[in-house]
Amino acid sequence: MQEKVLMKGNEALAEAAILAGCRHYFGYPITPQTEVAAYMSKKMPKIGGVFLQAESEIAAINMVYGVAATGKRAMTSSSSPGIALKCEGISYLAGSDLPALIVNVQRGGPGLGGIQPSQSDYFLATRGPGHGDFHVIVLAPASVQEMADMTLKGFELADKYRMPCMLLADGTMGQMMEPVVLPDPVEIDTTPKDWAVTGTECKREHHIVNSLYLSPKKLEDINLERFERYKKIEEEECLWEEFMMEDADICIVSCGITARVSRNAILEARKQGIKVGMIRPITLWPFPKKPLLAAADKVKSFISVELNMGQMKEDIELAIRCKKPVYGCTRVGGMITTVDDILASIKEAEKGEE
């Protein structure tokens, strides 16, 4: 057990990646995640790791692809516009069944947008970031502690299911400082993977890391196998946290920084006699549909609190099969929902206004 330290979210995740055995980081400067690259550039050379500032986001993700093909843990980090550029490489990672961790410390968009916090890459992350039919596991931390813990979890899940995993943080999570207990270092598994390119040593058939299949039947089979894995992930890897849901009439659904603000709004609403609770999705893909559907039989309505124009709201409506109304409480452009914003939405939901 390590001792409690005060750290910035971006630095906590960088250190956690090192503790997770990641020795290969490829990045490119972009606000608000540049601290990750700065941290790695200082640390990696001292521990025999590799830090490389790539010529572009595209090159960085393809360097990750190269390391991942050799069976080692690799990561890159960026923020929204940079993640858009990485989508090609993420699709190739998914298509070649390679594990990797991609960190997205989101900022406002679209286009160059702004540099303040946002959750507007929800669709991008949860709908398979890139061309083709695929998913990445999406983790949404809501504290600096979770920035560290989810980094470890992300590597584990990526390795377990041989697929890319995205740590989807909002800018606040990257920038804020909180006490954190860093995870214990992970023993690095150096057993060669039976699919990785490590050189044949003239002792085995060659390994090919590839996503090209010109036979439609073969490509269909490979997609079907991949989606069997996704089904298993949906059944076994969903993470969420419930807060004051036991007697709740209204259920807030929120992740990241807005979940933190929502907690305060819930406590305030309860002081005013309105029973509000929260289901906080921790995995955004797979989305925690089961607890939401279960809650739909108990609560009068839902409120989706998020820093975009209502992207997660669609997933909530799907999860609860539109059994109850879902209200939206949204701020965008780098603005963050306040307790008052959320209280106003709670009162709207309480009255049952459309």
């Binding site: 572009s56 393809n62 692809y65 190269g66 490590t198 040593e201 590839n210």
Partner: protein, 250 residues
């Protein structure tokens, strides 16, 4: 009976999909012979591009990775940085290396990344059916320059070795061709040096091979080989453009 000629060990038994008269087969063979002769088959990892040689992973017996279009040098960088004791090469065409992947090419060269690049320049996009490449010659007729490459609107061809020779990073840059026996022998020497450099830790080595595409050039294989002499070599002079060993610095 003594064997005087055999298939290199580093080539699989798969039948090459290349068109009749295409010189990819010759270059594949040269790369495989070099890998055999240097005894590095067990520790070599190849990166296949997008383009005609996209399925190179099926032809070499070494471990192979298929990269996205143009990204082979970045993928090679990842593989090499993961384990510098491995010998990592990319095999790329002109669209892949000099157009969509020019950024990765220039920066891996500038870093002096200790990898080997085999660059096939046949002045056309072959796989997609003969469109204008960054290396198509002025006036060259292709599917997307049907009136001949007009340098006023479609710009000029890029001479990759000359361009990279402006950088401090590369250890070795040479342009060769494989249109006759003598040139094939020279090409093999260059490819061998480019791999030997990596073994010796000398850094970024690139061999540009002027190649033929009879199908998309609309020529017989024989005529296509002559076209290399008549048209390509005058625009893309053969020779050493960088050699950090100190000889023939271009």
């Amino acid at each position: 009976m003594a064997v005087v000629f055999d298939k290199p060990k580093s080539l699989t038994d798969n039948v090459l999909h290349y068109c009749p008269g295409c010189t990819h087969g010759i270059v594949h063979r040269l790369v495989a012979e070099v890998i055999d002769e240097l005894g590095i088959e067990g520790r070599t990892i190849g990166i296949a591009p997008v383009g005609c040689s996209v399925m190179a992973y099926d032809y070499f017996t070494v471990d192979m990775v298929e990269a996205a279009h143009g990204r082979a040098p970045a993928v090679a960088t990842g593989v090499k940085r993961s384990d510098p004791s491995k010998i990592v090469f990319t095999y790329q065409g002109d669209g892949d290396l000099a157009s969509i992947g020019m950024c990765e090419t220039v920066h891996s060269a500038a870093r002096g990344e200790n990898i080997t690049i085999i660059f096939i320049n046949n002045a056309i996009y072959g796989m997609t059916g003969g469109q204008m490449a960054p290396t198509s010659l002025p006036g060259q007729v292709t599917q997307t320059s049907p009136y001949g490459r007009n340098t006023e609107t479609q710009g000029f061809p890029i001479r990759v070795c000359e361009l990279l020779s402006e950088l401090d990073g590369p250890a070795y840059l040479e342009r060769v061709t494989v249109n006759n026996v003598k040139n094939v022998r020279n090409a093999k020497k260059a490819i061998k040096k480019a791999f030997q450099n990596q073994i010796d830790g000398k850094g970024f080595s690139l061999v540009e091979v002027l190649s033929s595409c009879p199908t998309n050039w609309g020529m017989t294989p024989q005529k296509a080989l002559e076209w290399i002499d008549e048209k390509m070599i005058p625009y893309y002079p053969l020779g050493v453009y960088r050699d950090k060993d100190g000889e023939n610095n271009g």
